[in-house]
């Protein structure tokens, strides 16, 4: 199994379980023993996961990926020590970020539901043509990609959270907006779109939205 097998799901699941930090170790870039260079996939996944964390209000510094060879035990130790210090400084997950555990888990679980969608988008729009560290850094750290990601991910995340809320109980738009800390007009835009897609329906009697 290659570091590129480390799924977005694995990362988000660990955080959702309450881990304060996640560390991924992979082989050195450009020194793949085979011909796959799958560690670049790990690098791309890391950038995506960091973006997701930032998006849901978690510190992206809680995730770290480092590349080293099988003989770099000392490097692994150094990285791990350093990362442990960093995570300790950040404190328990959500605390620095001003969220309670329930909220963190709710948002992470909503994000996890989007992973299949993200995989499709990654393939079409977030793939770096050249496998060099520089190209990956430039690509994933560019403003343009940040904007693109926020555009495709932001609305979906909101809808995913709304669906999760409605899964528990029917709610009116105002309540949804309040619980998710979203702008009510944005919520009503999402609700209209979702009901057009047949995902939710509006119950006029209770003035609540419910899952279709």
């Amino acid at each position: 199994m290659c570091s590129g097998r480390v799924d977005l799901e694995f990362i988000l699941r660990a955080f959702s379980n309450g881990q304060d930090g996640v560390f991924i170790g992979g082989c050195k870039l450009d020194e793949c023993n085979y011909v796959t260079h799958g560690n670049y996939d790990a690098l791309a996944n890391t950038y995506l996961a960091k973006r997701i964390l930032a998006h849901i209000g978690l510190d992206p510094g809680r995730l770290r990926t480092e590349f080293m060879s099988g003989a770099d035990g000392n490097l692994l130790a150094d990285y791990t020590d350093d990362f442990s210090k960093q995570v300790k400084k950040l404190g328990p997950l959500g605390k620095t970020e001003g969220m309670d555990g329930k909220q963190v888990k709710f948002r992470l679980d909503a994000a996890r539901k989007l992973i299949p969608y993200l995989r499709l988008v990654e393939r079409e729009r977030l793939r770096v043509p050249v496998k060099t560290k520089q190209a990956y850094t430039q690509f994933f750290e560019s403003e343009e990609i940040h904007r693109l990601f926020d555009a495709i991910f932001g609305d979906r995340l909101a809808i995913s959270q709304i669906m999760m809320l409605l899964g528990e109980t029917p709610l009116p738009t105002s309540e949804i907006a309040q619980q998710l800390g979203l702008n009510p007009s944005a919520v009503s835009r999402h609700m209209m779109a979702s009901s057009r897609h047949g995902l939710v329906r509006y119950d006029t009697a209770s003035k609540c939205y419910t899952l279709a």
């Binding site: 590129g4 309450g18 085979y34 799958g38 996939d41």
Partner: protein, 938 residues
């Protein structure tokens, strides 16, 4: 020994261990109780061991033995060990056993003996406590060494801060007791020791007193640069001697001389003597018993056309008994000897060997998981940090764990047997071994499961050594907690393991050899000599390769006659099919079943083969420096050798000839040493001196790299008056065509470091050591066969030391200069080595493919093709089903990296053995409910 090829009879004397091997468990209880302290030979006698002990912690067999210091053996006193041994393994009645063994062939792999510097007073070894040999220093660095990986002085157990290495101890010296040859390995092993020392202790100050830096091996040059660039590391080019010991501190004063500073003395906390390699201690007996000839240095006498063959048919030599060599050569000459024996004894192959037979596999897929956990002490490696009993107690509380036990060494034969027995007895259907990294021992434990009638994929290893005890030596409680966490995660995964089938693939018995030079032909002949068809593909019109341009070797081989003979053998061999002017068009298939399409002399041909050998050779750099191509008096070393063979009178009659070394390599573009050029320069200069003793010959060099026995030729050239002048890359020689007094010549200006002035050398002929560069077709060939290249674009072997003639891509092998520049005898060695490894594949009818491959759940596949683009091995294809196109995995091509698994939007493709189910449960188990509720859900 007596007899002849096919029927040797050897009488062996086996010394008693005084231990019954079958009964000893390697538990070392006897060692604890033994009262006799005795210098530990394995640790270079720096620390003590007991009269009864296990040779070293990973010894094979892992059983104790009793040496001569034993009181019982010496004085018939003390019998403590017999009393404490619970298995009754101690047996003082054992005597020397004589065995007569009949074999068809013999390999002498007697290795080397490190040079012993105590034979000469001047090295101070044994006289001064803080003068150690490089072998001593290896033990000091080692975590299983005398101070558990701490480098300490034996005089006061203090850590040395200033350490000096003195190179060429016992080597390159003609004084009595020393060796005249270069041992070839010391420069690089010293650099390794320096790098490791700086890893251990950042503030260490390392000084290396050296002569030439002989970084002639693959990637050695970069390694030297790495060592040299470290802060606090200084390389000083100077002969150095151990002057005296300072009585109070035990420090050692080294005396040396440099050209700028003159004679100086410097004090060090420790001095490491970089000792060379002597022939095996018993070389005379070996020669007598086996009736083989030795060379003047006491190593085995061989011919350069086959350095593996001794003078006695049926007896071969591998490894450093051929002459001082490094590990990779020791490995591939072993494979080479194996191949040559295969040629001789092909008729009896498989007659005596036996297949391993495993019990029938029990189908446990319907059972609930019943997990057995074995927690290993690894001697004290784990148990001195992790509380093993408490870990075992904890493990018993985990879900699905029905049995848990601790073991001293889970990898010991008796422990493996115990696991097998307990698995049967307790009805275990999953096993977790909490021990070391799976990298080394997973195959052994998988085997253990098979012995228990369980599918081998029902095993998981929890690494509580490298990732726990070794890194948390000072935090025992936390380490124990972490060990528990790691085992808990492993147990969680184990419940979701599935039985997987490994399947047998048929092996096509033919081989493809790409490249018809010496390496390719030698390899092809050895494979064909064992009854296999070989397709030899050569891009040129004729066979021969680079050797066509070389006429003699330093060892005196007439290359052209040898080559003609070799080519004749190839053409005459009915099993070898040669394709000329051939280009590889396409390579399909996999280990055991390749199909290669070639275009040869205008025709397209398909070749089916089980193994591929890439022996595509190398090219020679065309210099743009030093007037090459502009002035007819400028040659490369290869051109010069050719002209010498042709009897070119202008050259032979020259009054003065200059050679410049390192042209086109050891620079930014080609950051490596071409290895062969120093030998070529010396060879050409000797030839020239032979024909024209009055010729003035100057060799301008950076480091003379006449490693091994070539050193003798270097010395001979110097004695014949060839002048060697060192230059630096910062101040290289300058060549200019001039005419003076009607004489046309090349004026070479070079700085003389010893005289400190510029020399003007007027040369009739200038010869350049043009670099050996990777073949122009290396990228194309690498892409076809899906193999990788080293940073300098030579082929990259699977493992530098241990798999030097195979690629990471299964079924593809390499040899010759495509791997790295090398001399002809070295290429021949390696070619036989590749043939030996090819035979380990082709002599089998089937090969086993891993069960951990990807699988598609067809119903979930949405035909998006994400997995297909993720796969570099072309292992996934669409195929038509009634429900449309669906992805399908070819399990033979799949290497199990799982990239597809992480890309599939519907989780339709799953990497077996690393399924989401198993891994997500492992991730979930990383955090316990208690931690979650206490810390997180507050």
């Amino acid at each position: 020994m007596e007899g002849t090829l096919g029927d040797f009879r050897v009488s062996l004397k086996t010394r008693p261990r005084y231990i019954i091997e079958d009964k000893c468990t390697g538990c070392t209880t006897c060692v604890t109780y033994c009262p006799v302290q005795y210098p530990d030979a394995f640790n270079q006698e720096i620390s003590d061991n007991k009269a009864v002990h296990v040779f070293f912690s990973q010894a094979i067999p892992l059983v104790a033995y009793i040496d001569d210091s034993c009181l019982k053996l010496k004085e018939n006193k003390c019998d403590i060990c017999s009393g404490v041994c619970q298995t009754g393994a101690i047996d003082f009645r054992q005597t020397v056993q004589k065995t007569d063994i009949n074999v068809g062939a013999i390999i002498l792999s007697s290795g080397i003996t490190p040079f012993d510097p105590s034979v000469k007073d001047e090295y101070g070894y044994k006289r001064m406590k803080n003068v150690v040999t490089s072998m001593d220093y290896e033990r000091l660095l080692s975590s299983t060494g005398p101070f558990e990986g701490q480098v300490l002085r034996s005089s006061d157990k203090a850590r040395p801060k200033k350490i000096a290495w003195i190179q060429c101890v016992g080597s390159r010296r003609v004084t009595p007791g020393d060796n005249s040859y270069c041992s070839g390995v010391c420069c690089t092993y010293t650099q390794k020791q320096v790098i490791l020392t700086k890893h251990h202790y950042e503030d260490a100050e390392c000084t290396i007193f050296h002569n030439d830096i002989r970084s002639f091996g693959k990637d050695f040059e970069r390694y030297f640069q790495r060592a040299e660039a470290l802060p606090g590391v200084e390389f000083i080019r100077s002969y150095a001697s151990v002057e005296r010991e300072i009585p109070d501190s035990g420090n050692v004063v080294v005396r040396y001389a440099t050209t700028d500073a003159g004679v100086k003395s410097q004090e060090f906390d420790m001095v490491v003597l970089s000792v060379g390699l002597n022939p095996p201690k018993a070389y005379k007996e070996i020669s007598q018993i086996f009736g083989i000839a030795l060379n003047s240095h006491g190593f085995c006498q061989t011919e350069s056309t086959n350095p593996i063959q001794t003078n006695r048919p049926g007896i071969f030599v591998s490894g450093a008994f051929q002459g001082p060599t490094d590990i990779p050569e020791s490995v591939f000459t072993a494979s080479g000897a194996s191949s040559q024996i295969g040629e001789l004894l092909d008729y009896r192959r498989g007659k005596l060997a036996r297949e391993r037979i495993y019990p029938m596999e029990r189908d446990v897929s319907g059972e609930v998981p019943r997990i057995g956990v074995f927690v290993c002490h690894c001697g004290a490696n784990i148990s001195s940090v992790v509380n093993v009993p408490s870990t075992v107690d904890y493990v018993r509380t985990l879900p699905n764990v029905v049995y848990a036990k601790e073991q001293i060494f889970s990898c010991a034969t008796n422990s493996a047997k115990e696991i097998t027995d307990l698995a049967k007895q307790k009805g275990l259907n999953r096993v977790v071994i909490a021990a070391c990294s799976p990298r080394t021992l997973e195959p052994l434990f998988r085997d253990t499961l098979r012995e228990a009638g369980l599918n081998q994929y029902y095993l998981d290893m929890a690494n509580i050594r490298e990732q726990c005890s070794w890194v948390h030596a000072k935090q025992k409680d936390e380490a124990t907690q972490k060990a528990k966490d790691i085992v808990r995660m492993s147990v969680a995964r184990a419940s979701f393991l599935e039985p997987l089938l490994e399947f047998d693939l048929p092996v096509n018995k033919a081989a493809l050899v790409v490249g018809g030079g010496i390496a390719g032909m030698t390899c092809a002949l050895s494979i064909a000599g064992q009854g296999h068809e070989v397709h030899l593909v050569e891009k040129a019109k004729d066979l021969g390769g680079m050797a066509r341009r070389i006429h003699s070797t330093l060892e005196g081989l007439d290359v052209q006659t040898y080559l003609d003979n070799l080519i004749q053998q190839v053409y005459r061999n009915p099993l070898i099919h040669v394709s000329h002017e051939a280009a590889i068009k396409r390579v399909e298939g996999y280990l055991g079943n390749f199909t290669t399409t070639i275009e040869t002399e205008g025709r397209v041909k398909q070749i089916q083969h089980g193994a591929s050998v890439l022996a595509i050779g190398a090219d020679v750099y065309t210099p743009t420096e030093y007037l090459y191509g502009e002035n007819e008096r400028v040659f490369t070393h290869i051109d010069l050798g050719q002209q010498l063979a042709l009897g070119n009178q202008t050259i032979l009659g020259a009054e003065s000839l200059v050679m410049i070394q390192c042209v086109g390599c050891r620079n930014e573009d080609n950051n490596y040493c071409s290895r062969v050029c120093c030998g070529h320069a010396v060879k050409n200069s000797l030839k020239l001196k032979e024909k024209n003793p009055d010729m003035r010959i100057y060799i301008l060099f950076r480091d003379m790299r006449t490693y091994g026995f070539r050193e003798d030729a270097y010395r001979q050239a110097a004695e014949l008056g060839v002048q060697f002048i060192r230059y630096t890359p910062e101040d290289p020689p300058v060549a200019q065509a001039v005419t003076e007094g009607g004489r046309e010549m090349i004026r070479v200006v070079v700085a003389d470091p010893i005289l400190g002035q510029r020399l003007e050398l007027d040369a009739d002929i200038l010869s350049l050591a043009a670099a050996v560069i990777p073949s122009a077709s290396v990228h194309e060939i690498a892409a076809h066969f899906k193999v990788t290249l080293s940073p300098d674009n030579f082929f990259k072997e699977a493992h530098v030391k241990l798999k030097p003639v195979e690629f990471a891509t299964d079924g593809v092998f390499l040899c010759g200069t495509a791997h790295y520049p090398k001399h002809i005898p070295e290429s021949i060695n390696q070619a036989y080595g590749a043939a030996g490894r090819v035979l380990t594949l082709l002599s089998r009818d089937t090969v086993v493919a891993s069960g951990s491959v990807a699988r598609v759940t067809e119903n979930d596949c949405v035909s998006c093709g994400a997995c297909i683009t993720a796969c570099t091995y072309d292992a996934i294809e669409f195929y038509d089903t009634p429900k449309g196109k669906k992805a399908r995995v070819n399990p033979i091509l799949c290497k199990g990296d799982g990239l597809c698994n992480a890309k599939c939007p519907t989780n339709a493709i799953i990497l077996k053995h690393f399924t989401d189910d198993a891994l997500l449960h492992q991730i979930d188990a990383a955090i316990t409910k208690e931690v979650r509720t206490n810390e997180y859900r507050s």
